[in-house]
């Protein structure tokens, strides 16, 4: 009898660390955040004052929020149209038959990804340095392009952050694509080649459609990643995003609102708004890429 109830109870005890921990440290705070988002609460000791949906309405006319939304979208676009294609290109090169030192290349291209964001930003402050930086001196000067003020000119800050992202994240995405490419049976491509398909046609009509699951994964995380960006831009250009907040991202603004300005109610609303945006974007993208298609 004793044996029996112990065996029935065992699985619940095994899974309890997650559910108890999640309830205390995540579920309860989430409910609390929803509650707080309808209050004005400035400073940790203050008494919250109910203001209804005003926090959410204020977001719509908050210049810094809109700025952060714009910058985050800008980076997401850079991610989708620059970093992801670069990763796919690199992966296509790395799966070439009879490539030598393939493992070594994989290791090297992956290494930026495991470097701390703070360290990456510290390195890239030197890369983007106006007078003594690597890009201005080694890449632009030979082309006759005058020194770009990467971290001081508001228009140049976003491109700089996207280039830093290109360095940081191309390798890991290439790894995802490589895994996907290696999963495509070579017979399929060979059959098409025998039937006279060009390399581009093989890529466009066979490789790319078969890569769809990986593409969905990579693009979804590209979008989520731009909303999570915090350490790199805040160390590269400062937590306010540099001149005219040109490099202010969503999570940086959340941090400023909640932990610098201590507008805790407003920051809670911001957190929910952010989650909603990520959710809608992810769904939208999966729809476009046909995750819900029946095939």
């Amino acid at each position: 009898m004793k044996y029996n109830w112990r065996r029935r109870l065992a699985p619940y005890l095994f899974i309890s660390p997650f559910f108890v921990g999640y309830a205390i440290f995540f579920a309860y705070p989430m409910v609390w955040a929803l509650y707080l988002s309808f209050f004005k609460k400035s400073g940790v000791g203050s008494i919250p004052r109910f203001i209804g949906v005003k926090n959410y309405l204020n977001l719509l006319s908050d210049e810094l929020f809109l700025k952060a939304l714009g910058n985050t979208t800008y980076y997401a676009a850079g991610s989708i149209f620059l970093i992801v294609p670069a990763a796919l290109g690199l992966a296509l090169i790395l799966v070439a038959p009879r490539l030598r030192w393939r493992e070594l290349f994989r290791l090297l291209f992956f290494s930026p990804n495991i470097t701390a964001g703070v360290v990456v930003a510290i390195i890239f402050r030197l890369v983007f340095e106006e007078d003594y930086g690597l890009i201005n001196n080694y890449l632009l000067a030979p082309l006759g392009i005058d020194h770009v003020r990467w971290l001081r000119e508001p228009l140049a800050i976003m491109p700089a952050i996207i280039l830093m992202g290109l360095w940081h994240y191309t390798g890991v995405n290439a790894l995802y694509f490589m895994a996907g490419l290696q999963n495509i049976p070579s017979e399929v491509k060979e059959a098409a080649t025998i039937d006279g398909a060009t390399r581009w046609q093989v890529f466009r009509y066979i490789t790319l459609p078969l890569l769809r699951p990986v593409l969905i994964f990579v693009l979804t995380f590209a979008i989520i990643g731009s909303y999570n960006l915090f350490g790199e831009p805040s160390v590269l250009v400062g937590p306010e995003g540099g001149p005219r907040n040109a490099g202010l991202f969503m999570t940086m603004y959340l941090y400023l609102t909640g932990f610098r300005f201590l507008e805790l109610g407003y920051a809670s609303a911001l957190g929910y708004a952010l989650a909603l945006i990520i959710f809608v974007l992810a769904l939208l993208q999966m729809r476009i890429l046909g995750v819900f298609r029946e095939d």
Binding site: R7, R8, A10, P11, F14, I15, P17, F18, G21, Y22, F25, Y28, P29, M30, W32, A33, L36, V44, I93, A96, P97, R98, L99, L108, F109, I114, T115, A116, V118, V119, I122, I123, L126, V127, D131, Y132, L134, N137, Y138, W167, L175, Y176, A179, G180, I194, R199, P213, F217, V218, I224, N228, G231, V235, G258, A267, L270, L274, A275, I278, F279
Partner: protein, 293 residues
């Protein structure tokens, strides 16, 4: 279509495609060489920069090789006059190792529960666990901070380690790997009178060693490199983890860049060790999620 139907021209076409892949070999290696330089140069510049006096970092023309190699940056950084960097590095190690061990324990337990038991509500609970993966962490940032304040965990590593050890990803990852452990082994142990915890500890854990080491590498890297949450909950400089220390240096001493580079390089060394030791696990398992989509 039979083999005979493949014409000579088609066969030639095919063998060429097989041999070359997408690009001519020369062009392929050229592309790779450019990519290697672009990836490697910033690393090399960080490392060599840490051995340059500050005046040389900000001088013209640029040099990758230090012209006046010096250890002064390391001496000043490790001397601890500007920030207690050695101490902060140790803090990071303490937090990352503890968080990794606790995450492994919790994840293995939860994974074991879902993989090797039948119980009421299992499917629903598993769905709930997976659903939590879709919730962005930004929602809980403010109230989690208030909770830490209320229970007195601000400026305490528990605030990082305990919430950090609750990992839906880790639990699911362990479940997927533990499904393959044969139930016959477990039944045999039960008949021999082993306790459920004993079975988990002596059969489950050893048989999931591979998955545990993958998870250990991923959790350690995540914890070692984390910046946002420690920035929110840690208050005193001697409690800081190294990313906070580096960010402080970066904000305070813009001209002391050699020292900052030295700190960045030192912080990267443990990652290199973990990476070299765990590279097979890491590179091969990282992509599991992507393929299954």
């Amino acid at each position: 279509m039979t083999t005979a139907a493949v014409t000579a021209a088609q066969a030639k076409h095919l063998s060429r495609a097989r041999r070359q892949g997408w690009l001519e070999p020369g062009l392929l290696y050229l592309f790779l060489a450019v990519a290697v330089i672009l990836t490697g140069a910033p690393f090399v510049y960080m490392i060599t920069g840490s051995f340059k006096p500050n005046a040389e970092i900000f001088s013209y023309p640029l040099h990758f090789i230090p012209q006046m190699p010096t250890m002064v940056n390391y001496r000043r950084l490790l001397g601890g006059h500007e920030i207690p960097y050695v101490h902060q590095f140790g803090n990071s190690a303490l937090v990352a190792v503890t968080q990794t061990l606790l995450t492994l324990l919790f994840s293995a337990m939860v994974g074991w529960g879902f993989a090797k038991f039948e119980f009421r509500g299992k499917q629903v609970l598993l769905l709930i666990l997976l659903a939590t993966l879709t919730i962005p962490f930004q929602i809980t940032l403010v109230p989690l901070f208030l909770l830490m304040l209320r229970i007195g965990w601000l400026d305490n590593y528990l605030a990082i380690i305990i919430p950090g050890a609750i990992s839906a990803f880790g639990a699911f990852f362990m479940r997927q790997n533990m499904l393959a452990i044969p139930s016959e082994l477990i039944d045999a142990a039960r008949i021999d009178g082993a306790s459920e915890w004993g079975i988990f500890w002596r059969i489950g854990l050893p048989l999931a060693k591979g998955a545990l080491s993958v998870l250990a590498v991923l959790v350690f890297l995540g914890s070692w490199n984390d910046y946002l949450w420690p920035l929110i909950v840690l208050r005193s400089p001697d409690k800081f983890t190294y990313p906070l220390g580096l960010a402080t240096l970066n904000g305070l001493y813009k001209i002391e860049y050699g020292m900052i580079l030295a700190g960045a390089f030192i912080a990267t060394l443990p990652i290199i060790v973990v990476f070299v030791v765990g590279r097979k696990h890491l590179l091969n398992n990282l992509t599991v999620g992507a393929i299954k989509g």
